[in-house]
């Protein structure tokens, strides 16, 4: 993925501790490369992700935020990812409604055995964000319209 010098996207990945964090580790153990722009924050379950954290990441200059969790039905806490699924769907819909590019946010279910899928998802997401360019809209949603 050609990352030219000027635009280095910052991508925050929230990974649930039981499945996708283990999936990330597995892709590491298999030495599957994905861009260094992705930084992973470990949360106990995908249901721990508060929309505030996603907005805070964008506010602090992140260009893309992805939430990885267990496949529905696989959640260590039985129902965690079902709530996360609803919350993220509404958050993405609201951001899209405000005119923010909807490709900047994504949810992906990655199990502990899917190291390859994790790496592939990160590569694909980085490429999408790289094509989208830096995150301008969320920054200046406030300044005067032309």
């Amino acid at each position: 993925m050609p990352v030219n010098q000027e635009f280095k996207p910052t991508i925050v990945a929230f990974c649930c501790n039981w499945c996708s964090y283990a999936g990330a580790d597995l892709s590491g153990t298999n030495r599957l490369q994905y861009p260094a722009n992705v930084k992973i924050i470990r949360i106990p379950c995908s249901c721990r992700l508060n929309p505030m954290f996603v907005l805070r990441a964008f506010q602090r200059g992140a260009d893309g935020v992805i939430l990885c969790g267990c496949h529905p039905g696989d959640c260590h806490y039985t129902t965690g990812n079902y709530y996360a699924r609803r919350r993220m769907t509404l958050l993405f819909s609201l951001l899209d409604y405000l005119g923010i590019e909807k490709e900047r946010t994504r949810v992906e279910w990655v199990s502990a055995a899917e190291g390859a899928k994790f790496a592939a998802t990160m590569n694909d997401f980085c490429q999408t964000i790289y094509n989208l360019g830096p995150n301008r809209r969320l920054e200046d949603l406030r300044c005067k319209s032309e």
Binding site: Y21, D25, S27, I41, A62, G80
Partner: protein, 663 residues
């Protein structure tokens, strides 16, 4: 202000190869609050840990950040290390700069830069860590084994031996599982029933073991040490306490034409049946789909005939709810369906059978009374063709399984040997890709089949089987002989691939145990923790975790039992201290959190609060039971006022990590 120590690990060359550890240590040393920063080849080694303890004492550290491998690897180690040095174990944070940094980036500059950022995030988090102490929760001294095959029985026996009560829940009317359908077992050729039935009787008579047969698990709640399981015991329409198992009713029942699942449909049984002679519990069961009395209310022959008066047509499903400290999954396997493999004409000719069906045909208690006869015309077969790897080692996408089913080579060698020994006039061909007999005395067993009993092992595959005028025209390739063979066979036996029992899927969701793409249960660690599921308190025994033969199953059953005994012998478990904690001053008492809590750990109470000008207001506030809460965090997001926060992963900590990463 926190006094933080940063320790960057080389992990030999795993990290140091692509991350400049010195630069990372130096960069993190400048972060606010960091008073000590160093690097070392192996932080997790004895000397590495001593270095940490030394630094804690010397620099009076209040927080420790270790940039090393994944926390899933050594979080526990480093927490113990710091605890020994007098630091609260939850004041330690780990930055994963190996699996999520050094191993996945080749360019040293970017990898180092990322390692520094990850380190900063960990430092930002540790600044806001609060010392936590793990609470304890009681352990219910009773185990549950789901599945009554050899795996379940062996696990239950071992647990019962250690003095703990254990329940076996078996879906079928009797325990015993697949092994009861098998004739002889490899490599010793002793008869399956002879070595299994004593264990079944043991299990039945053992006062610590309670067999709940013809029942399925419906609901599982709670967590390790405190599972509450709801079991549905299906109605048998026969009173277990009265029935003596005499079998009179099974002879008199007018409904005769029901395919007998125990013999895989090769013969019929009655509407009221006992699967086989040594069934445990030896109690008749009425099949509601076929019994005319239950369907139309006209018949009742069995209740007239029954001397013990055990028949009760009004019997209802019984719901049993019990508390357990540990659960062992032993749901076993099923051969896959042969329908998609129409090139072998499995559904066109009764003489094309799977290996399990062959077991029944050769078994003394089987439909043909032990003599091998062709299902089509009952004649004695003279040429048999065995086809290996049917559905195994396939592409796995369209049809068949991608894995090797492990047990087929051995049981095919066993079948070939037994047939050649009992009927020397038969010709036996085995078409194989490669024979895999890696166990103890296994290869010698296979060589005996070839050398002593003259079984024709041909490296090649059967391409097509066409049933024609009473014979099966087999067209196969002989790769070593470089020829295409055409054999007129009397019977073709398919070594079908095996897959997990279908009922395992809903069970996995109930137990929050995850499954791999082939629906086998995923173990906590393939090499180091093969008999535990990632969910604490759930253990795996037998083929539900992957294809395996009886010796391995029994070994794994023993291992699972020892893990259960290890768990049940504890009076209490230290539970996860990272639980939710409400801030009562800000709690609205709106019970949003209670609605999303999967464990029901939240209750409400009216508490007095100081109101304006010295009045007291009583307000409804939430309370979390730390022993029940597992720390998932669903409530923290459902709570609008942010009153509910999760210790160890608090809102402020995660926001600090986000800030550190995006800075």
């Amino acid at each position: 202000m926190q006094r933080i120590g940063v320790f960057v690990c080389w992990c030999g060359s795993n990290i140091a190869a692509t991350v400049d550890v010195k630069q990372v240590a130096e960069a993190l040393g400048k972060e606010p609050g960091v008073v000590f920063s160093t690097d070392y080849q192996y932080m997790c080694s004895q000397s590495g840990q001593e270095m940490i303890q030394e630094a804690i004492r010397e620099h009076r550290l209040t927080g420790v950040v270790i940039c090393s491998c994944s926390p899933r690897m050594h979080e526990a180690t480093f927490r113990k290390t710091c605890q020994k040095a007098g630091l609260n174990p939850y004041m330690v944070e780990i930055a994963n700069i190996r699996e999520q940094c050094s191993w996945i980036h080749k360019d040293k500059i970017t990898a180092t830069e990322k390692a520094v950022i990850l380190g900063r995030a960990a430092i930002a988090k540790v600044h806001l860590n609060a010392p936590l102490t793990a609470g304890t929760s009681p352990v219910v001294k009773r185990a549950l084994v789901i599945g009554g095959g050899i795996a379940g029985i062996q696990t239950a026996l071992d647990i019962a031996d250690a003095g703990f009560p254990v329940d076996i829940v078996e879906k079928k009317p009797t325990i015993g599982g697949k092994m009861t359908q098998i004739d002889k077992t490899f490599p010793t050729l002793d008869c399956a029933a002879c070595i299994l039935t004593p264990k079944m009787v043991d299990a039945a008579q053992n006062e610590n073991i309670d067999i709940i047969s013809y029942a399925q698990v419906e609901k599982v709640q709670g967590f390790v040490g405190n599972f509450s399981v709801t079991i549905r015991k299906k109605a048998r329409y026969v009173d277990e306490t009265k029935c003596t198992g005499c079998g009179l009713c099974t002879e008199k029942c007018p409904q005769k034409k029901i395919p007998n699942e125990f013999n895989l449909g090769l013969d019929n049984r009655r509407a009221i049946y006992i699967p086989f002679a040594q069934a445990t519990p030896k109690v008749a069961t009425i099949d509601p789909n076929y019994c005319t009395m239950l369907k139309t209310g006209k018949c009742g022959v069995c209740s007239k005939v029954c001397t013990a008066g055990a028949i009760n047509y009004k019997q209802e499903d019984e719901i049993i709810t019990r508390e357990y400290g540990a659960i062992v999954v032993a749901t076993g396997f099923e051969p896959i369906s042969m329908e998609p493999f129409d090139e072998f004409a499995y559904s066109q000719s009764p003489d094309v059978v799977t290996s399990l069906e062959l077991e029944r045909l050769m078994n003394a208690a089987g439909p043909t009374g032990g003599t091998l006869l062709r299902p089509s015309d009952g004649a004695h077969p003279h040429t048999l063709v065995f086809v290996q790897c049917v559905g195994s080692r396939c592409d796995g996408a369209q049809k068949g399984k991608s894995y090797c089913s492990k047990i087929c080579c051995m049981y095919t060698a066993k079948h070939a040997m037994l047939i050649r020994e009992k009927y020397p006039d038969t010709e036996v061909y085995v078409f194989y890709i490669d024979v895999r007999t890696p166990g103890k005395n296994f290869d010698e067993f296979y060589r005996r089949a070839v050398e002593e009993y003259g079984v024709h092992y041909i490296k090649g595959m059967v391409g097509k089987v066409t049933p024609q005028d009473g014979k099966l025209k087999v067209q196969a390739s002989d790769l070593l002989g470089g020829r295409q063979m055409h054999i007129d066979a009397d019977m073709v036996v398919l070594a079908a691939a095996i897959e997990p029992d279908k009922s395992a899927r809903p069970l996995a969701t109930m137990l929050t145990a995850s499954m791999d793409t082939n629906d086998f249960f995923t173990e906590a660690h393939p090499k180091l923790r093969p008999v535990e599921s990632p969910t604490a308190g759930i253990f795996l025994s037998g083929a539900c975790q992957g294809p395996k033969d009886i010796p391995e199953t029994v070994a794994q059953a023993g291992a699972a039992a020892s893990k259960v005994i290890g768990l049940l012998s504890k009076n209490s478990l230290t539970c996860n201290p990272c639980t939710a904690k409400p801030d009562e001053l800000m709690c609205n008492g709106c019970s949003s959190c209670e609605k999303v809590c999967p464990y029901g750990a939240i209750t409400y109470v009216d508490k007095p609060f100081r109101g304006p000008n010295r009045t007291t207001l009583t307000r409804r506030v939430a309370q979390v039971n730390p022993a029940v809460c597992q720390g998932c965090g669903a409530c923290t997001v459902a709570c609008p006022s942010g009153a509910m926060d999760l210790q160890g992963f608090s809102n402020k900590q995660i926001l600090a990590e986000v800030d550190a990463i995006c800075r």
